[in-house]
């Protein structure tokens, strides 16, 4: 039997995502990929996967799924959630765990992620990844282009996602410490490419403003609500290419920050672009969150990118083994003995 995860409920919107699909924007194919690639890489590190392995990305409300493999290893990284592990369909109490760790699971167990708090995204990685053929070099789900992931769409009840590994390895369980997923007070941006469509006063007001992430937000972009930004030269431009992080200002003056699934081209002036190092934080901002922007130079942006890349390369240093209960007790006893031994010697 093919080892698999059986989706019982997909939650609000859960899809398979890796680090995205580069090189095909000229065909109109979106980059896609995890909204929060930092959390995705941490989730993969916890189960020993390469950072670009596809995982489940849950938005706002996570999935419920059954383990249809001898055993498997999962990890959860992202927003706060009370994740329930049920022994089987008859078990109604279950065990509750918090994210930011790996866990060993067995056939028949049911995992219920539930609603996310203080963040939009949570990643569920599985050791070895899903047994899914990449499309254009990526397993990311592109819902608009209907390619990648599981049948080119978000998950639905009854989907059976095949796993690469027949069973879990003997690897230890880990938790990840020192990851700060709280929203920064300011998101850094580089001005342009169409900041000349806005007066200097209006740009100053944009940086002084506070915006709320609006309900229309999705994987394509965050619709921000706040004081409208006025254009000085109209708001229709001949379409040109847009980047992830582009801040478009349409006719109503309410900015839209483009995220992973953005269209490849757009026809509104772009006042500024979120720097690449701050895109993961942008991606996990939930509807209702507040956000303000601060300008930075290209050099500062590149330094921030370098710092983030180095931190991600060293993400393994943040992994801390979770000792099995028996071993944990044993080592604690040993610690006590040692300490008391020192006391005895001193006495």
């Amino acid at each position: 039997m093919t080892p698999a995860l059986g989706i019982i409920s997909p939650g609000l919107s859960t899809s398979i995502q890796d680090l995205g699909r580069t090189g095909f924007q000229r065909l109109g194919v979106s980059l896609g990929g995890a909204l929060d690639p930092v959390s995705l890489r941490a989730a993969n590190a916890l189960v020993g996967n390469p950072g670009n392995t596809g995982a489940l990305e849950a938005l706002y409300t996570g999935p419920t799924f059954a383990i249809d493999a001898e055993d498997a290893r999962l990890s959860f990284v992202g927003a706060d959630a009370a994740i329930k592990i049920f022994a089987d369909a008859e078990d109604h109490s279950g065990e509750t765990i918090a994210p930011m760790r790996s866990i060993h699971v067995r056939r028949g167990q049911i995992i219920h992620v539930g609603s996310l708090k203080h963040g939009a995204t949570l990643y569920v990685a599985v050791e070895g990844g899903f047994d899914i053929e990449p499309v254009l070099g990526s397993v990311s789900t592109d819902s608009r282009g209907r390619i990648g992931g599981w049948r080119g769409r978000p998950l639905t009840n009854g989907d059976v996602l095949p796993l690469r590994r027949l069973a879990a390895s003997n690897r230890e369980e880990y938790r990840i410490d020192g990851m700060d997923l709280t929203a920064p007070s300011f998101i850094r941006v580089v001005l342009g490419p169409q900041s000349d469509y806005f007066s200097n006063d209006e740009i100053v007001r944009f940086f002084a403003g506070r915006y709320i992430v609006g309900a229309g937000s999705n994987r394509m972009g965050l619709c921000l609500e706040g004081r409208p930004i006025q254009h000085q030269r109209g708001f229709n431009i001949v379409s040109d290419a847009v980047a992830t992080g582009s801040i478009q200002v349409p006719g109503n003056g309410q900015p839209i920050v483009l995220l992973a699934d953005h269209q490849t081209t757009g026809g509104y002036p772009k006042i500024a672009t979120v720097i690449s190092a701050d895109l993961p934080a942008m991606g996990r901002l939930p509807i209702g969150a507040q956000v303000s922007f601060v300008p930075c130079t290209l050099d500062e942006a590149t330094a921030a990118r370098r710092e983030l890349a180095a931190a991600l390369d060293d993400i393994g240093d943040k992994l801390v083994p979770i000792l099995p209960p028996a071993a944990a007790v044993g080592s604690r006893l040993q610690e006590c003995n040692l300490i008391s031994g020192v006391h005895n010697a001193a006495a």
Binding site: T22, R144, V189, V190, D240, A241, G245, T264, R305
Partner: protein
């Protein structure tokens, strides 16, 4: 040499902007620069995205600085020959019958042309593919006869079927996938412009396209063959230069 400016689009993309309008000469320059940069295989360039009037160059700033990339772009611009870029010529069948042309009556009213005149004017010219965008495989083809050009409908449709052919200002577009749409639908093309199974686009920037009117019967037959994966559409010519 053409005027251009290099703009930041964040810390991982530059925009080489040739102008702010839709213009064959600008498009030619954009496509010529894209081909020149692609041919150079410059380490640190991730991908290039041509549009009507600018080329976006995505790069890895930890391998290639913005300043170094801008210098490489200047270097290419110095020696760029902006002759018409060759592309393939395609004949795309289109059914303009009422079953598909849901806005044809409305377009006739707005343009004061008869339905037959609209079909003749739309299927007359050879269109230039300026760029792909909005949806995978979706080509922006221009330019439409001036008396067919229309701005967006007041109320966009939440859903139009794949293959819908639209008037979009001075452009004509075939939407390769079902999508929300604010433009005027005057027909449907039975040829899939985007193949999700193989993730390939039929058209590429600089290609040339002529629309060939077909009956509902021919349309249905082509759709059936396309769905059975036995429809092979080949360009009429592999290498077409300036045809405008």
């Amino acid at each position: 040499m053409l005027d251009y400016r290099v703009l930041s689009a964040g810390d991982t993309a530059l925009v080489v902007e040739f102008g702010d309008r839709i213009d064959r000469q600008l498009s030619t320059a954009v496509l010529a620069l894209a081909r020149a940069l692609d041919a150079e295989r410059i380490a640190g360039i991730v991908e290039t995205v041509p549009t009507f009037r600018s080329l976006m160059v995505h790069y890895e700033p930890l391998a290639l600085s913005a300043a170094a990339l801008a210098a490489r772009i200047d270097e290419q611009m110095q020696k760029l020959s902006v002759g018409e870029i060759a592309g393939r010529l395609w004949h795309l069948p289109v059914c303009y019958e009422p079953r598909f042309a849901i806005d044809l009556d409305d377009v006739a009213k707005r343009t004061s042309l008869s339905k037959q005149q609209i079909i003749e004017r739309h299927s007359g010219p050879i269109y230039h593919v300026y760029m792909l965008g909005f949806l995978p495989g979706q080509a922006y083809m221009g330019e439409l006869a001036a008396d067919l050009a229309l701005d967006r409908r007041e109320t966009p449709r939440t859903r139009i079927p794949a293959g819908s052919l639209a008037i979009a200002a001075r452009m004509s577009c075939v939407f390769p996938l079902e999508t929300p749409c604010g433009w005027h639908i005057i027909g449907r093309c039975p040829i899939p412009l985007w193949d999700p199974a193989h993730a390939t686009a039929l058209l590429a920037p600089a290609d040339k396209v002529m629309f060939v009117p077909v009956s509902v019967r021919e349309y249905d037959s082509l759709v059936t063959r396309a769905s059975q994966d036995v429809l092979r559409i080949e360009p009429v010519s592999e290498f077409v230069g300036a045809v405008a």
